[in-house]
């Protein structure tokens, strides 16, 4: 009986592992799926100038989202986006929109880093520094004009 029960238990464990069920039987999302969750949030952000989404303009792609596990329940999300126009303030604005939408919409605990993908901009270091300075982001979002533009870009179609 003992041999049988231990065999059953090891089979059950394997079945659980294969179907990626956690201990409580809930389906655990893989890193790839979490990355897709992140991409799902940012793909529909509207470009501040054009009537298109960031996905439509290739500003963000599935591959531009990278996830690293920081601890058991927290992830580091790294996003590298490519602004269409070599215009500094527009690139910063897109970075701001991505920051704000992810802060609001992601259900899992995360730290965020956003960068302009290399070679797409002349002063990318300056822009990257601004986008990742949370004090600057917070102050920018208290500017009513800037806030209005960002809200329009991150609004869902059915809002």
């Amino acid at each position: 009986m003992e041999i049988v029960s231990s065999l059953v238990s090891s089979v059950v464990t394997t079945v659980f592992q294969l179907s990626r069920l956690g201990r409580n039987g809930m389906r655990v999302r893989t890193m790839d799926e979490k990355a897709l969750d992140v991409y799902d949030v940012i793909r529909s952000i509207r470009d501040p100038e054009k009537p298109n989404t960031l996905e439509e303009l290739d500003v963000v792609t599935e591959e531009c989202v990278e996830l690293k596990e920081l601890s058991e329940d927290e992830y580091l999300i790294i996003i590298k986006f490519s602004p269409t126009v070599p215009h500094c303030s527009l690139a910063t604005l897109i970075g701001l929109c991505i920051q704000v939408k992810l802060q609001r919409c992601l259900p899992f605990k995360h730290k965020l880093e956003i960068y302009i993908s290399e070679g797409t901009h002349s002063i990318e270091e300056d822009i990257n520094k601004q986008i990742n300075d949370k004090e600057r982001i917070a102050a920018a979002m208290e500017n009513p004009n800037l806030r209005e533009i960002v809200e329009q870009c991150v609004a869902e179609p059915d809002d």
């Binding site: 920081l70 520094k129 300075d133 949370k134 004090e135 917070a138 102050a139 208290e142």
Partner: protein, 330 residues
């Protein structure tokens, strides 16, 4: 480690917004906090618990970034993203708005009182540091505008005993200012950090300074007599604490009573370092003696040592919480 950081109380101080800063009153009895909800809260102890004594809600139109107590404890200054600095006067358990200092072009990032209580410094994203003088009639006047930084100035701090001022900036540098012949000027520019310097503080004697940065390090700087003559300062980095912080170090605080160094980081942790018996006087070694790795569930923005009660430490976070800690040394 025989030292430990023990949680005394967790307070939901600024619900649904960030708590950016906490500061103990000079007598150690009150704690002021401020945040993204545009409010300042004053906390006092009732028995074993810290409770909210006062809420100052209508002083600012935007985030209140930092607050600072005057050395006498009768005034509180608040720096805001609305580009103003408010001076509050304490009246029993309440505070009334005395005056509003205007002049900066955009967000004021920090305000600090000089040890004499007669001078106040503010700094801003407009890249400048302003020094204000206050007279016996409680009138404030700007005496100088210093433009030594090339970017957003994040923090200013006064030397504990001399009228010497230091500032930390997004331009990765620290500037030290002194009054020379009635004129304030930048005496030294400390380079070394490879990203934004978020905070700095002096030790109890003012001989050394600690700075914390987005480059994930804390640097200790020491004053050396300069070859160019007495009275001139030369600051050198004598120690760099690296490898301890997983993300930006937003704040560093040096306890005037015990010499312990506390840090606040974007990796959600609060850490305490103590100095080892020095190998040489020009180099110092600090060791991590205690840490709370999940001090808060989000970035820790500030740490502050109680000036009267050794080992009492306050921290605050993006999740709007304040935590009171006891740092125990056996």
């Amino acid at each position: 480690m025989k030292e430990a950081l023990v949680l005394v109380q967790r307070i939901s101080a600024h619900p649904d917004s960030r708590c950016w800063f906490v500061s103990w009153s000079p007598n150690g009895a009150l704690l002021a906090s401020c945040g993204g909800d545009k409010a300042i809260r004053i906390w006092g102890r009732e028995g074993d618990f810290w409770i909210c004594k006062t809420v100052l809600q209508d002083g600012h139109q935007r985030t209140v970034r930092k607050v600072a107590w005057s050395p006498c404890g009768n005034y509180l200054a608040s720096a805001s993203f609305d580009a103003t600095t408010c001076i509050w006067k304490k009246k029993n358990d309440d505070f009334e708005s005395l005056t509003v200092l205007e002049g900066h072009e955009n967000e004021v990032k920090c305000v600090a009182w000089a040890p004499s209580g007669n001078l106040l410094a503010t700094c801003s994203r407009d890249k400048s540091v302003w020094v204000w003088e206050v007279d016996e009639d409680e009138e404030y006047e700007c005496v100088t505008v210093l433009n030594s930084h090339t970017q957003d100035v994040k923090h200013v701090a006064w030397h504990p005993t001399k009228e010497l001022l230091a500032s930390a900036s997004y331009d990765n540098n620290i500037c030290v200012y002194k009054e020379e012949d009635d004129d304030w000027e930048c005496q030294a520019t400390l380079q070394g950090h490879t990203s934004t310097v978020w905070s700095l503080c002096f030790d109890a004697t003012g001989e050394r300074m600690a700075s914390s940065s987005d480059d994930r390090t804390v640097k200790i700087w020491k004053e050396f007599p300069s070859e160019s003559g007495p009275g001139n300062l030369s600051w050198k980095c004598v120690c760099t604490l690296s490898g301890y912080h997983g993300r930006t170090v937003y704040d560093v605080a040096w306890c005037p009573l015990t010499g312990a160094l506390a840090t606040a980081s974007g990796d959600d942790a609060v850490r305490v370092f103590k100095e080892d018996a020095a190998a040489s006087p020009d180099e110092c070694v600090f060791s991590l003696v205690a840490q709370a790795t999940k001090a808060h569930s989000q970035d820790v923005n500030c740490v502050s040592w109680n000036p009267k009660e050794a080992g009492l430490l306050a921290s605050c976070s993006d999740n709007g919480e304040i935590v009171i800690w006891r740092f125990k040394e056996d």
